[in-house]
C-alpha cells in the first residue's frame, strides 16, 4: 500500500528567523527579509522563494545529501525512494516518493 502525505509549510516554519529571534527588524519589512537572508547564508543556506513564490525559504544542503539510505531515520531530511538516497535539500518542496521510518514507500508532497 502506498501512502500519500501532503504538507503545507506553515508560515512559521518558512520563517527563517523562527527559533532565533534576535533581529530588531519588524516582520514583513524588507529589512526583516534581508536579515533572514543573511542569517540563512551564514549557515550555508540558499535563500529563495517557495513553490507558491510568495514565501521565502532557507534551503539548506544537509550533510548526508545524496548518501545511501533505507528509511527516513537514516537522513536529516527525506530518504528518496527510487534512488534510496538522502534528499539533496531541506526542506524538500514538491511531490516526491520517499521512504518512511518503517521503510514503506509514500508519496510526499509539500508546498
Amino acid at each position: 500500500m502506498r501512502l500519500v502525505l501532503v504538507g503545507l509549510l506553515a508560515l512559521a516554519a518558512c520563517n527563517p528567523l523562527s527559533g532565533s529571534r534576535t533581529s530588531e527588524a519588524e516582520e514583513g519589512t524588507q529589512a526583516f527579509v534581508e536579515q533572514a537572508r543573511a542569517r540563512c547564508e551564514a549557515r550555508g543556506g540558499n535563500f529563495g522563494s517557495g513553490s507558491a513564490g510568495v514565501v521565502n525559504i532557507c534551503y539548506v544542503t544537509p550533510k548526508d545529501a545524496n548518501q545511501s539510505c533505507s528509511t527516513a531515520t537514516d537522513c536529516e531530511g527525506q530518504c528518496l525512494a527510487r534512488s534510496r538516497t538522502c534528499a539533496p535539500v531541506i526542506p524538500l518542496i514538491g511531490c516526491h516518493e520517499v521512504l518512511l521510518e518503517n521503510g514503506q514507500v509514500a508519496e510526499f508532497c509539500q508546498d
Binding site: G48, Y59, S83, I93, G94, C95
Partner: protein, 347 residues
C-alpha cells in the same frame, strides 16, 4: 578518459557520452544495458536520452520507452550514482508527444515527473530543451530557414515562464542543471540574459549537431559557447554513420540507419559521400581509423563539453571504445580543415 566541467557549473562529465536514441528500437534492452555497463567500464559516465526516444521513427506509442529501459538498468544495477543522467523535454511537435504541446511552465513540471518515474530515479543531472518551440534551422531546415514562432515579446514571455518552472524544479531537487538543444546564437543569448535578469538557473550546455560533416557551430555559436561558457554536447559526431565508412561505395548494410531511413534525414547525398571519401583518405594516409579520427576531431574543439555517440550494437560500441581518447597530430588536423574547405556544408 579526460573529463570536463560543463559550462559554469560544478558538474564534471566524461569527454565522450553514450547516446541512447536507438534503445528500444534498433537496440534491444539487453544490448542497451550492456552498452551502459561497457561505457562505464571505459570511463564514460554521461548518458544522454530524451522523453521522445526511441527513434527512428518517433511514434506516440513508443514515447518514453528508452527512458524506461535506462530506468530498469538503474533499478537492476544500483549504479545511478555512477552516471551523469541527461534527458530532454520535447519542443512543439506534430502531436506525438503531449498532443503536440511543447515547452511551457506546466509541461516542464509534468515532463520532469514523468521522466523521473520512467528513469526510476529522483533527480535528473542535466535537463535539456530538445528544440525551441519557435522552431529552428536545425535538422537540415537551414536551407530555407525563416525565423518564426511568434514575436520577440511572445518568445521572451515563454522563456521567462519556463525559467520560473526551472527554478522550481531545481529547488525541489528534481533537476540539477539545465541545457539547450538545437538552439541558435540568438536563442541561447536570450536564455542567458533573461535567466540573469530574474535570477533563474543558467543554461550550462547546448546540444547541437557537430561533426566533420556538420560544422555550423564553428562561428557565432562557437564564440558564444566559449565566451559565455556554455559547453557543446555534440550529437551525431559520426554523421549518423556516414563517418564510419559503412555507406562507402553505395553500401547499405542490413539493419543500418540508412536501411530504414534512406537519405539519413537529408544527410546522404553525393556531396556528403564525396566529403566522406576525403576524410577517409586522410585517415588511411595516417593509419587511423575513420571512426576514431572523427571522434577525436570533435573532442579537441575548444567549445566542446562532451561528444555524444550512439551505437546500434555492442560490436559497434567495442569498435568505438577501442580508440576512444586518442588525439590527432597537427598535420592531421590541418588536412581535415583543408578537406572541410573543399567540402563545405555537405548537408
Amino acid at each position: 578518459m579526460r573529463r570536463t566541467l560543463l559550462g559554469t557549473s560544478d558538474l564534471e562529465v566524461s569527454q565522450f557520452a553514450l547516446g541512447t536514441m536507438t534503445f528500444g528500437s534498433q537496440t534491444s534492452e539487453a544490448d542497451a544495458h550492456r552498452q551502459i555497463d561497457m561505457a562505464l567500464d571505459a570511463g564514460i559516465d554521461l548518458v544522454d536520452t530524451a522523453e521522445m526516444y526511441p527513434v527512428n521513427p518517433v511514434r506516440a506509442e513508443t514515447v518514453g520507452r528508452t527512458e524506461e529501459i535506462i530506468g530498469r538498468w538503474i533499478a537492476a544495477s544500483g549504479r545511478r550514482g555512477e552516471i551523469v543522467l541527461a534527458t530532454k523535454i520535447t519542443g512543439e511537435n506534430g502531436g506525438t508527444v503531449r498532443g503536440g504541446r511543447g515547452i511551457h511552465g506546466d509541461t516542464m513540471i509534468e515532463a520532469v515527473d514523468s521522466s523521473l518515474k520512467r528513469l526510476q530515479t529522483d533527480v535528473i543531472d542535466v535537463y535539456q530543451l530538445h528544440w525551441p518551440n519557435r522552431g529552428s534551422f536545425h535538422f537540415r531546415q537551414h536551407w530555407d530557414y525563416v525565423p518564426g514562432g511568434g514575436t520577440k515579446a511572445e518568445i521572451e514571455a515563454n522563456i521567462v515562464e519556463v525559467l520560473e518552472a526551472m527554478t522550481r524544479l531545481q529547488r525541489e531537487g528534481k533537476v540539477r542543471h539545465f541545457g539547450l538543444s538545437n538552439e541558435s546564437t540568438w536563442g541561447t543569448a536570450a536564455w542567458l540574459r533573461l535567466a540573469a535578469e530574474i535570477g533563474a538557473p543558467r543554461m550550462i550546455s547546448i546540444q547541437n549537431e557537430y561533426s566533420m560533416l556538420c560544422r555550423q557551430f564553428d562561428t557565432d555559436l562557437a564564440e558564444l559557447a566559449v565566451r559565455e561558457e556554455v559547453g557543446l554536447l555534440a550529437y551525431s559526431p559520426l554523421g549518423t554513420g556516414l563517418l564510419t565508412g559503412k555507406y562507402r561505395g553505395g553500401a547499405v548494410p542490413p539493419g543500418s540507419r540508412m536501411s530504414i531511413n534512406a537519405n539519413l534525414s537529408g544527410r546522404a547525398n553525393p556531396r556528403a559521400h564525396a566529403a566522406v571519401e576525403a576524410y577517409a583518405a586522410i585517415a588511411e594516409r595516417h593509419g587511423l581509423d575513420l571512426v576514431h579520427m572523427s571522434l577525436a576531431f570533435c573532442a579537441a574543439r575548444p567549445f566542446m563539453g562532451s561528444v555524444i555517440f550512439g551505437a546500434t550494437g555492442v560490436d559497434q560500441l567495442e569498435h568505438i571504445l577501442a580508440g576512444i581518447g586518442m588525439t590527432l597530430s597537427e598535420e592531421v588536423r590541418n588536412e581535415i580543415n583543408a578537406a572541410h574547405r573543399d567540402h563545405p556544408m555537405p548537408f
